[in-house]
């Protein structure tokens, strides 16, 4: 590796001791250092180097943790036994885009935004837009089966993969399914996707691309209730239609994120009815679906809400803003110490105030002719299901601010709170039961809201967002653990899956037995086969940490 691509600096070891798992952030906010850290961080530049690192680690029985952007929210990159953290970000090339085959070859360490922009410049898109796209890598997406905001059309990341190159725990470089599926035996691609670095280190992938869309259509609708909205989406999906985006916000989420009372933007209705023209402007091919992050001086101020507006009466300026911020923080903190009370008051209040029920954002994109035809069919079906067309504006608003959510985490933590999200999924038959069960479980400990997105003909994902106090830190961690324990248990009991697209990591490891029951035998069998010494990311995915922590001098000896 050479000295320049290997580090044991204290700052590096501390940085690579965590990802964006909110449980760790609660402690970090309180001034604690991450409890785990690697013994060494390395930056390989080729799969040959990765294979060599694995072979060395295998000889020494030292753990290896693959690392991408560090944006995971489940602790998947935490080196719980120390060892070698392998940061793949120097393997960051888009090697080729094949226009005839509609596939590209990309290395795992490539940043999501750079990758999408590079494809856009060639006239293609991957169609994968996770809200972490600016800070996650292709390898991270593949390792945890990520989903993007437009997955209803393009599929989750596992649907875009035509083949993988992986370094196994034995140090072999293997290639799974080529561009055509003629091979005998199990589908190894699908067995390695989602393995979170426990079965192999994904070093590159062949991914399916699509032409950049010629047309994008966005609309907002309102529905009487969540149940009505879920039924409307089901009807669209089962009619064989594939919008790119479907996002149904429950009453509280609609109230908080879309109500003008709380500072959200006005709907098109308040401008005098649905927009006259049906289609949004065609995006420039070079622009794709990715907005640039605005420079700081041009960044739109966050909506101030009720408190801010009230303080505005006393004059503007920094003093008023600081006072507003402090008052808001204290009011919110006091309220969140009684989550059950807030939940029981907020939802009926939200229902009454928002009056129109739930907001649904629908978007379609793709080739001009087919997208236009499909959009008309989708909108007709939604209106037949009782949705009220709110015009283009709500859709545009969502589109412009769709990455903002990922950047609200820091201000929330600064405000003495923690926020996290739980993404579960089930078939339509069980979906409302799943929604009620998980919401009830989380509501005992935190204020919770949800939206439904990533729809399929047979079911849908639900994305719960919950907020609670992060001080004092031990109480907050206890509350955090209780939320996840109760929420995931409720999801399993209701017949849902414990993760739709964030993965398992350390966070959900204990729930894996309930998720897979006897089928864990298959996962353990794969682990024993691909990583017989248990060196790859030990202790994740509910698998035991089967090697002893390595003493530091042994790690650095080579």
């Amino acid at each position: 590796m050479g000295e320049r691509r290997l580090s044991q600096r204290e700052s590096d070891l501390a940085s690579y001791g965590r990802d964006m798992w909110p449980r760790l952030l609660i402690g970090i906010r309180a001034g604690e250092l991450p409890p785990d850290r690697p013994h060494v961080v390395v930056w390989p530049e080729s799969e040959r180097e990765v294979a060599a690192i694995v072979r060395v680690a295998r000889d020494l029985r030292v753990p290896i943790v693959p690392y991408g952007g560090g944006s995971g929210v489940c602790g998947g990159a935490v080196p719980i036994l120390g060892g070698i953290t392998v940061d793949l970000k120097r393997m960051n090339e888009l090697s080729s885009v094949d226009r005839d085959e509609m596939v590209c070859d990309v290395q795992a360490g490539m940043n999501g935004e750079r990758f999408e922009r590079a494809l856009n410049r060639r006239g293609y898109t991957l169609g994968h837009f996770p809200s972490s796209i600016y800070c996650s890598t292709v390898g991270g997406w593949l390792a945890c089966r990520a989903a993007g905001q437009m997955s209803t059309k393009y599929g989750k990341i596992e649907d875009r993969v035509a083949g993988l190159t992986v370094v196994t725990g034995r140090g072999d470089v293997v290639h799974t399914d080529g561009p055509i599926r003629a091979e005998r035996g199990p589908n190894w691609t699908q067995l390695l996707l989602g393995s979170e670095g426990t079965l192999g280190i994904i070093t590159s992938a062949r991914l399916r691309v699509a032409p950049t869309p010629e047309l994008r259509v966005l609309r907002g609708f309102e529905l009487e209730s969540v149940a009505h909205g879920v039924e409307a989406i089901r009807r669209v999906m089962q009619r064989g239609l594939r919008p790119a985006v479907v996002r149904l916000y429950d009453e509280l989420d609609t109230f908080i994120n879309h109500s003008s009372i709380l500072g959200g933007k006005k709907s098109a209705r308040s401008h005098g009815g649905p927009a006259d023209h049906m289609f949004a402007p065609v995006p420039l091919p070079a622009q794709g679906a990715l907005p640039h992050i605005p420079p700081r001086e041009h960044a739109a101020p966050a909506p101030d809400g009720l408190v801010g507006r009230a303080l505005g009466l006393f004059g503007g300026g920094d003093t008023a803003r600081r006072l507003a911020s402090r008052l808001r923080r204290e009011a919110v903190s006091a309220a969140l110490s009684r989550p059950r009370l807030v939940n029981s008051l907020a939802t009926p209040l939200a229902e009454r105030v928002s009056r129109h029920g739930c907001r649904l954002i629908v978007g379609l994109e793709g080739s001009r002719i087919r997208t236009g035809v499909e959009a008309s069919l989708v909108f007709d079906e939604l209106e037949r299901a009782g949705a009220t067309d709110q015009g283009e504006e709500p859709g545009r608003e969502w589109f412009e601010r769709r990455y903002a959510v990922s950047y609200k985490m820091s201000p929330t933590f600064r405000a003495g709170l923690f926020v996290d999200t739980m993404e579960v999924a089930s078939t339509w038959e069980r979906l409302m039961d799943l929604y009620r069960a998980v919401k009830h479980a989380i509501a005992q400990h935190a204020v919770v809201m949800a939206h439904f997105s990533h729809a399929y003909p047979e079911g849908c994902s639900i994305y719960f967002t919950f907020v609670a106090r992060s001080e004092p830190v031990r109480d907050a961690q206890r509350a955090y653990d209780a939320i996840w324990r109760d929420g995931l248990a409720a999801a399993s009991r209701a017949g849902g899956t414990i993760s739709h697209h964030h993965g398992i990591g350390m966070l959900k490891g204990q729930a894996m037995a309930a998720e897979h029951r006897e089928a864990m035998t298959l996962l353990r069998g794969l682990k024993a086969t691909l990583d017989p010494d248990g060196i790859l990311n030990p202790g994740k995915l509910g698998l035991p940490a089967s090697i002893e922590p390595a003493p530091p001098d042994e790690v650095t000896a080579p």
Partner: protein
């Protein structure tokens, strides 16, 4: 006598009868026994039994019995498709064989019409399932009817690229979960969800494993509503390559037809009649297409294919030609009894023209006649079917066929085709290890 006691005492047949009942144990048909005979086995071979368990617990008992008696368990379905080649026939030497026929496990366990999901036992044929769900306006999807004669277990156990449609993808993508009995008698059910991120998709370990990792007993499959409208169309294109380019163009424009087929001139004449490609137009190709879905969208897809065909110099033909193809495809009409194409290869979009051309050149060099069509288009490619003929236009057979097959397959491979049933040599050692871990006694399909 208990099943185990009988098994250990050497009466395997009696032991099996104790598990599944005497009416459900019999001698296997000779053809089946021969196909799975041990290499070098004495005439008559080892004892063989065909059993039909009625439940997963009976399958588990059979596997436990096999584990204790050293018998080999070979899953069989409807016997509609050729068994995968035996890679290790020596593993059957000296071992009694138990053919486990899943067809008594043929029930629909749950039909969820809200989610359009069916939980079905593995011994039901896909065709029978279609007949059960059709009155409710549901279907498994646009998959080629020829493959639907297999049992659900058989369909999912063997991974071949023909089980696909441009609109509904590959059949294993319709699997939301599976149940299987492992070699140690444990039953596993993979989590049913539209999509998951809770580790690898464990159902995919069992799908395609050809019965070597577990015995599939049930699956949860996605269903689709029967389409509101269906349109058929036929186009003549200047060449086979132009027709393939038209397909690629249409799919790039996001057309999602229910089925597509491209015939070369010789194949079109054989399937659709001599008049479809008049004399002198031997380079011409015929593209037939079916689109389905909501009326406006199905019409849009039909028009996108027509535009793509026109862009490649095509002309629209009488729709009746496509109707002939569709009626035969769906079994509503019997066509002439054409032989099954001898060579089937898959190729990615870019490779398809080169593969076709390479096989034609190889056949011309051998003095062998050729007919071809391309079908089963999906995201990653399509299957090319070739029929080799003698000077009199009759299908080749016997030694001449084998000689020509070797040459043409080599030419196709060199041009980038992948022969069906290819193996991933990188991962074979891992597949063997996974199998050894899950089935240390080598009970399940040991010849594979």
């Amino acid at each position: 006598m208990s099943a185990l006691a009988a098994g250990l005492a050497g009466d395997l047949g009696g032991a099996l009868e104790a598990i599944v009942g005497p009416l459900n144990v019999r001698r296997p048909p000779p053809a089946l026994a021969r196909r799975f005979a041990a290499e070098g086995a004495a005439p008559g071979g080892e004892p063989a039994h065909l059993v039909q368990p009625g439940s997963p617990s009976e399958v588990a008992e059979i596997l436990l019995l096999a584990g204790r008696t050293g018998a080999a368990v070979i899953p069989v379905g409807n016997g509609t498709r050729a068994a995968p080649a035996q890679r290790n026939p020596g593993a059957l030497i000296g071992r009694p064989r138990v053919f486990v026929d899943s067809r008594r496990m043929c029930h629909v366990l749950h039909l969820d019409e809200t989610s359009l999901v069916v939980h079905v036992q593995a011994g039901l044929t896909a065709l029978a399932l279609e007949r059960i769900v059709a009155p409710r306006g549901l279907s498994l999807g646009d998959f080629p009817p020829q493959v639907l004669g297999s049992t659900i277990g058989g369909l999912l156990s063997v991974r071949t690229p023909g089980k696909s449609s441009p609109r509904h993808g590959f059949i294993e993508e319709a699997v939301l979960g599976v149940s299987a009995v492992l070699a140690d008698g444990r039953t596993v059910h993979t989590r049913v969800a539209p999509r998951r991120a809770s580790g690898p998709d464990l159902a995919r370990a069992l799908c395609g494993s050809e019965g070597t990792l577990g015995f599939l007993t049930a699956a949860v499959l996605r269903l689709y509503r029967r389409p509101e409208a269906r349109f058929l169309a036929a186009h003549a294109l200047p060449s086979f390559e132009d027709a393939l380019a038209a397909v690629r163009l249409a799919l790039r424009e996001e057309a999602a037809p229910a089925a597509l087929r491209v015939y070369d001139a010789a194949e079109a004449r054989a399937h659709l009649g001599d008049e479809v490609c008049p004399p002198g137009r031997d380079e011409q190709a015929i593209l037939v297409v079916a689109t389905a879905g909501p009326t406006d969208l199905a019409a849009c897809d039909r028009d996108l294919v027509a535009s793509a065909a026109a862009a490649m110099g095509g002309t629209q033909l009488d729709e009746k030609l496509a109707e002939v193809w569709w009626r035969r495809r769906t079994g509503q009409e019997r066509g002439s009894t054409l032989p099954v194409p001898m060579i089937q290869v898959t190729a990615s979009p870019k490779r398809q023209p080169a593969v076709y051309r390479a096989v034609r050149v190889a056949c011309a060099g051998l003095g062998v006649g050729l007919r071809a069509h391309a079908s089963r288009f999906e995201a990653d490619g399509a299957v090319l079917f070739f029929t080799l003929m003698d000077g009199a236009g009759q299908a080749l057979a016997g030694e001449p066929l084998e000689a020509a097959r070797a040459m043409t397959e080599a030419a196709a491979s060199a041009a980038g085709a992948v022969l069906l049933g290819s193996e991933n040599h990188d991962l074979d050692p891992y597949a063997r290890d996974l199998r050894r871990g899950l089935d240390p006694k080598g009970i399940l399909n040991p010849g594979l």
